[in-house]
Symmetry: D2
Subunit: 149 residues, 4 copies
């Protein structure tokens, strides 16, 4: 039930995601894009760990930030761009498991400032386990072509 506008942001987000060197480096995959919500998944890899062998808090933050940023991209006109001003992350359970899901959702749309909330889950055989949450503040940029994308 995607309308033209939706297809616009979908293609744009996929292209932009493909330009994020960091997401490629860690093996993150864009798995869901819909208006107001973006999901990214990641498989566990020892290369992504902190000193105890769990997913590094910064890696969790990186993927949550990407999910929240792209959720914000679903709310803006095609010429505009999104910049993360700040975010806060709560780490609730150790990042252990085989695979992780990161969901970014828009809490407050706006023409200049967008607030997004993200949740990170360890997903496996059993029920998903919440491992972290993020609240992030995004600024909508216009007329800065060099940042478009």
């Amino acid at each position: 039930m995607l309308d033209k506008g939706n297809n616009d942001f979908r293609e744009r987000i996929e292209t932009s995601f493909a330009h994020q060197g960091a997401m490629a480096l860690i093996g993150a995959e864009l798995t869901r894009i819909q208006k107001g919500t973006v999901e990214i998944e990641l498989s566990y890899d020892q290369k992504l760990t902190q000193q105890h062998g769990f997913l590094h808090a910064g890696i969790i933050a990186a993927v949550l930030d990407s999910a929240c940023t792209y959720a914000a991209y679903t709310m803006i006109e095609p010429e505009a761009s999104i910049l993360t001003i700040e975010f806060k992350v709560n780490l609730m359970s150790p990042g252990k498991g085989d695979r992780f899901l990161f969901r970014g959702e828009i809490t407050k749309p706006g023409s200049n400032i967008i607030v997004a909330d993200g949740r990170a889950y360890s997903i496996g055989d059993g029920p998903a386990k919440l491992i972290a949450s993020m609240t992030g503040t995004k600024m909508v940029l216009r007329g800065r072509e060099e940042l478009a994308g």
Copy 2:
């Protein structure tokens, strides 16, 4: 002028840092350890970018979190361990430049909770440019040998 205690935490931090798969993956180097302060440096690499080619906010968060965590390790007894409960990051300037410095410093030591503040700078030929700040809350863990290190 390192005393025995300092050498203890220095060696411990170096060993722990070497176990952080994420820091190795991105090429981060531990460049300074002293009581209450830890610095990590990182060179720009296209693999570490967001969609505009700047250092990804999550990579900035990852290194700041490591710097703050290891600053906390300088404040605890050798048997204890540090867990990040939460952090907040403000992104102030685009992460552009050839090389970056991340400094974590202890704002409030404590037997259970430690608060650390971090600053990230783009460093190059000119004066260092502040690109981001972090405030992070750490919990001191004791008697959980599996997390030691």
Copy 3:
């Protein structure tokens, strides 16, 4: 459908709330207590404003913090106590209106650390309008009688 345990926390929270000088000063009322969720309401008063005549961000934070703290009290044993370690507030719309609702909910229970999320709404004739959100980190204190309550 409150069981005995629930009644225990209800009475305890009401007594504790009555000891919060700050909540009395601003005229806040405890309007809902159930396991994992606490609501507080507040009427607009010019004494509670910032320089533009809207509800002061700090007043919003104060009530959200109380709502989140008491939500945490519903999760702990009667002898324990709750201490706020930190919180983050996003101000999304001006605090204007006649009456406001602040809801605190537990996102992650825990024996030592509890994470709560709060939402503040302007409520009136029309639909409730989200004006702010909070994420707060709480520590469970035990064996510190002077802090009980």
Copy 4:
């Protein structure tokens, strides 16, 4: 050594502060204004407490937010206004003591977004004791006369 510009913001801040019902309600006093730094002081009062008789975290947040906001006012042109987008507060020590000092300082000026850091201290006979810190993000508003001040 105040120049004309400084006097401009000084008078403006004093007038604005006088319009903050919340600051009057709690008895806060503006004690220092200089470019990039604003200080507010507050005396202990049982009316400002949480359930343990210490200064309520929300009151601490309210005064820190005002100090940070007015520090931002020292950085903008007289026609512009400041709006708090979000803040994070870490509570480090119980808010006990007779008198408290709240300092807001500009960490990152900007034409659209300003980042300020605040520190709250219990001040008395001995050395000042750090009780809380804030990082806040401010937006510069222009052309919205209704918000000027």
